[in-house]
Amino acid sequence: MSDGVIQLDHVQLNYGNFRALSDINLHVPEGEVVGLLGHNGAGKTTTMKLLLGLLKANAGSVSVFGGDPLRTEHANKIRNKTGYLPENLSFYPQLTGMETLSYFAALKGADKKEKNQLLEDVGLAHAAHRKLKTYSKGMRQRLGLAQALLNRPGLLILDEPTVGLDPVATHDLYLTIDKLKQQGTTVILCSHVLSGIEEHIDRAVILAKGCVLADGDLQSLRQQTQLPMQIRVHGRIEETGWLQNVSDNNVSLQRINASQYIFTCPLSEKVPLLKKIMSENSVNDLEINAPSLESIYQFYNRQLTNNGNGDVRE
């Protein structure tokens, strides 16, 4: 067993005759932020429930903080160190924000002062004594985040945490995740808003039909997929020079107008192409667009569909 916070080895899980997870392997070290991605029914929630000790694997081993989350002697220790924000959480409408957080804080044995600070941190201090039935969806989601942060968790599992949040609250959430990462918290982040999480995850794990389709940091996934990148150039480039033979190296060129060009090239051609572009004296500016998480995700799902492995929804 390794010293990682999460270790899943050859995990299989069935719901009756339906195989929800097939041979899942996942190792997450301390302080890593992992994006758990996949279409609906890919196995994300099932994986999270396994980590939380809510489901039992049919085969393979599940370890969280070095212990089995299903074994009573480990379960409470793991649960004390784990924060979870489920999807579509509505809480108790008749309680106030403060009462709700107090209830969960008491169950977790959290410090009484902590809940005030958490309500402040998630921007709900002003509504702490209002009943939850008067809260908006975004406010309930922020309260959900506050309860997940009780007891300074070593592992934070967030299922669609930005649903219902406005752009400012979403930004604050990502800042919180960045801060927690710096403090050594391991985060499992499940979201369909891929553009939002791209900047904040260390690694993406793409699931499909209960299998790990891809696993790696963004750079390595870009290398694996060999998706083309784009370089947008502002300025004039001498048409009689290297530009004439640019397509020889799998680079395509699109002329937007006389002073704007878009080059599309494989990753391997990025540096040589940039050197050529920068040798032009009249280049004023350039933008480099590496393949996004969204395009990487689409690539793997297209590949799965092309291989005839099922009805992947995109």
Binding site: Q94, Y103, F104, L107
Partner: protein, 274 residues
């Protein structure tokens, strides 16, 4: 233990806040006072009857009301939390399922006990004061048995509501099952027994018949209360079973406790299996 009390405190506070305690207390008190005051109308006059007369009518009423109130109070205790998404969250906390269930049960049992005590207790107190036929002694002895057995009957149906709640996937389904359970114990069971008696031409002996009554907690409750007042033993045919000493009061109470423990244990077992 502390975790159980945290959950129990929350459930009990919810009951106070949602006015369950106040509502149940008022309903029970009004029915008790009404039955006592207007119960003698058939004889041409109205006024508070004695506690023993009141209890005969009141125990019949309690058989309808208390199981229904208990089932409505607790049928959504688990399935309701499941639907609003809080159950899955609670299960990720350092709290065992049996602790969650125990906490909820203590909270709901507390609501039922307090409301029954206030409702029937206040009514009994007023009847004892205003009725020349009632005595404080009756209030402290047999009427207390009525209140305690009413509370126990409420707990039995709270436990049944938990079993319904953990075996239902949807609140609407749990509501339907709760109503069926109520109907079965309050109406159908006795009709079936009557049918058996008629079909066998009274061939079922008193001994067998009395033990068949133990299969229904509402009948146990009725037997406990009919045997508590000498006057009622004369008034009620059913009490003849108690009068004949076929079932000792202690057996009746133990049976009612069994009706509390078995559904509760089944609910915990089923919840742990989910």
């Amino acid at each position: 233990m502390n975790k159980i009390l945290i959950v129990a405190k929350k459930e009990f506070r919810d009951g106070l806040r949602n006015r369950w305690v106040a509502g149940i207390s008022i309903v029970l008190a009004l029915f008790a006072m009404g039955i006592s005051y207007f119960g003698t109308a058939a004889s041409g006059s109205v006024g508070f009857a004695s506690l023993s007369t009141t209890v005969v009518s009141l125990s019949s009423l309690a058989i309808f009301l208390i199981p229904l109130i208990a089932l409505i109070l607790a049928y959504d205790s688990i399935v309701g939390e499941d639907e609003q998404g809080t159950l899955i969250l609670l299960l990720t906390y350092p709290l065992q399922r049996s602790q969650l269930m125990a906490g909820k049960f203590i909270g709901h049992a507390g609501i039922m006990a307090l409301a029954t005590f206030i409702g029937f207790g206040s009514a009994g107190f007023l009847i004892a004061i205003f009725s020349p036929l009632a005595s404080i002694e009756e209030l402290l002895t047999s009427y207390s048995v009525f209140i305690v057995s009413s509370i126990l009957l409420g707990w039995v149906f709270v436990a049944m509501a938990y079993l319904i709640s953990v075996t239902s996937n949807e609140k609407s389904r749990a509501t339907g099952v709760a109503l069926i359970v109520w109907f079965a114990f309050v109406f159908v069971f006795d009709l079936l027994l009557l049918g058996v008696l008629v079909a066998t031409g009274g061939g079922v002996g008193d001994g067998v018949f009395s033990y068949l009554l133990l299969l229904n907690p509402t009948d146990i409750f009725r037997l406990i209360n009919l045997s508590s007042f000498e006057a009622t033993q004369v008034q009620s045919g059913l009490a003849s079973i108690a009068e004949q000493g076929l079932i000792q009061p202690v057996v009746l109470f133990v049976s009612l406790f069994a009706w509390l423990l078995v559904p509760y244990w089944l609910a915990v077992w089923r919840f742990n299996k989910r």
